[in-house]
Amino acid sequence: MKSDVLSMENISTVTIDYRQYLSTTEVAAIEHEVSIMETREAAGIEALKIIQEHRGWVSDDSLYAIADLLNMPEAELEGVATFYNLIYRQAVGQFVIHLCDSVACHLTGYEEIYQTIKSYLGIDYGQTTIDGKFTFLTNVCLGGCDKAPSMMVGKQHYQSLTPENVVEILADLAKQESEND
């Protein structure tokens, strides 16, 4: 959007009718979360996660549709969405790697694992491989400190990583069609 003068006519607001955008399954799952909370907005975080589960990430349009469904301002939901690191506000690859960079992993070989993944996939933190297979992100302590270094790919935790086994894990994943294979 290009605008030279800031006046009301130049600000376009977008609203998306959730009924045209969200599937009935998505709406049902979100309404279930609403039903166990005292206010509609309280289901916002779960709603973002539900949409992400179905669509991989939360696009602007998804966000507007959720705001519409929950009857809350888009900007407020955007504030919520961008606060939490497990909500992806950009498109991500088929597998999202969350490598733990906290202290126990730092002490037990994080740097080597980081360098290995970086050179094996040819991407750094925040990037996605060209084939759309992997996105590479950090994570705080994954609660696997006794078997550090540790990472999470999708919903799967991998522990006791070495430069050798991390490459094997990624190579195996690259062969899979979907996360549930």
Binding site: M37, K49, V103
Partner: protein, 446 residues
């Protein structure tokens, strides 16, 4: 004492396949809840928990009975009694070096469900949430299974086990950020907001979730309840005769021989945990220091090894028991780099509300990065000390910033030589030593 009575929290843990409801019951499960519901009044449970001396395992060590005692109860004044109350299990567990709650959540989910029933009965809470960190996917699945089973068998829902008491329990999975573990930030997160802590007072026990009285307790704290109900306050105290009541799930990570976790009597010494259970340092390494209870506690030194790991003794030694998870620093790892890693964590996880924390933590990262990379200046040490004062207790809305100060300030005190050598020699000697397998302290080449 039988094994079960010595290690009540973890005895029934099965990580491969946790006990189903009927298996859990056949091992004595739900007897604590049954006793509470059928034989005790809420006030009697409260007194029992107060007498047991149970203190919070979430980091601050606040007496649980006292915390619950602040909740306005029906009995006090029927007309003014709030019609809705909440009990929340804090299963956010994001303190680096801490993995004890995960063990309980994945290994014995019914124990937490039973604990929540007892806790909610005591404060007449109508609804409970388990606030679970988003990364614990397996725990989420297992908790939900346990909750579903409990509903099917009338351990949750309306008129539990034929009593007047009704209670609903839900799992809320979080979407990340360490600050969610702070109890008022957690409440904001549950309300669907950004997880910014709240100014206190009012305390959550008076006005918490959706403005209703709310108690937030750590998973390990709550998990003690069924056992206290079953075996009594005297038994609980006797688990650790010379120290705070009960057992504690201690852990060790870093370069030790066998990292892991162990349920031991409260007040077990650091030495016993590190050398007997964690097997001592990994081959070729010496102990340099350790954080006794997670990332936000002060370093202790080898001279502190005989300190009992309980709230008062660790405080006397100059640190905090925190979560009871040792993070061990060896002699071939750079203390400056370790502290930099810790402070980066706090800077990234600051919620940004208070200026000392929002600005102070990244500033400390900048200074520490400079020192670690050999570009440090003499004045930098003064800057770090100033930052420690700037972020200390009472200057921020929550304990994240003081928590960041603890490892930094103690490192400046105990490992000052290392900081000075980085500055004087313009490099980190440990980086050299990992390449060459020998430590060239004070001499950096290249």
């Amino acid at each position: 004492m039988t094994e079960l009575l010595k290690r009540p929290l973890t005895q029934l843990v099965n990580l491969e396949s946790p006990l189903s409801l009927s298996q859990y019951i056949s091992e004595g499960g739900y007897q604590g809840a049954s006793k509470a519901l059928h034989e005790y009044s809420p006030k009697q449970v409260l007194d029992l928990v107060s007498n047991s001396g149970l203190k919070g395992r979430g980091g601050a060590g606040f007496p649980t009975g006292m915390k619950w005692g602040c909740v306005p109860m029906f009995a006090d004044n029927d007309d003014k009694a709030p019609e809705f109350k909440y009990l929340v299990a804090n299963a956010d567990e994001m303190e680096p070096g801490t993995f004890k709650d995960r063990y309980l959540l994945e290994g014995v989910p019914h124990q937490l469900v039973e604990s929540m029933i007892i806790g909610s009965y005591t404060m007449a809470a109508n609804r409970g949430y388990i606030f679970l960190r988003g990364e614990y996917h397996l725990a989420a699945k297992r908790l939900q299974q346990a909750i579903d089973e409990a509903y099917q068998h009338n351990w949750l829902g309306k008129n539990i086990q034929g009593t007047q008491f009704s209670f609903d329990l839900y799992v809320h999975t979080s979407a990340g950020r360490y600050i969610c573990g702070e109890e008022t930030a957690l409440i904001n997160a549950l309300e669907g907001r950004r997880a910014i802590p709240r100014a206190k007072p009012p305390f959550p026990q008076m006005s918490g979730l959706f403005g209703k009285p709310t108690v937030v307790n750590n998973v390990e704290t709550l998990s003690n309840l069924p056992h206290i109900l079953k075996h009594g306050a005297a038994w609980f105290k006797a688990l650790s005769p010379d120290s705070d009541s009960g057992t504690k799930i201690y852990a060790a990570c870093g370069r030790v021989k066998t990292p892991g976790l162990w349920e031991l009597p409260m007040g077990t010494t650091i030495r016993e945990i590190l050398y007997q259970h964690a097997g001592g340092m990994a081959d070729g390494l010496k102990l340099r220091g350790l954080l006794p209870g997670g990332a936000s506690t002060d370093f202790l030194l080898p001279e502190h090894l005989d300190t009992p790991m309980d709230f008062d003794s660790i405080a006397k030694a100059g640190s905090r028991l925190g979560t009871g998870g040792l993070i061990v620093l060896d002699d071939k790892s750079c203390p400056v780099a370790m502290v930099l890693n810790l402070i980066k964590f706090f800077a990234q996880e600051s919620c940004g509300w208070c200026t000392p924390c929002r600005d102070g933590t990244p500033w400390a990262v900048e200074v520490l990065t400079r020192i670690e990379n050999g570009r440090g200046r003499k004045e930098d040490l003064d800057s770090l000390h100033n930052l420690c004062d700037f972020m200390w207790l009472g200057k921020t809305h929550c304990a994240l910033a003081p928590g960041a100060v603890e490892p930094l300030k103690s490192a400046l005190r105990y490992f000052l030589d290392d900081f000075e050598q980085h500055i004087d020699h313009g490099c980190c000697s440990y980086k050299q030593s990992t390449n060459q397998q020998t430590k060239l302290k004070g001499h950096c080449h290249g």
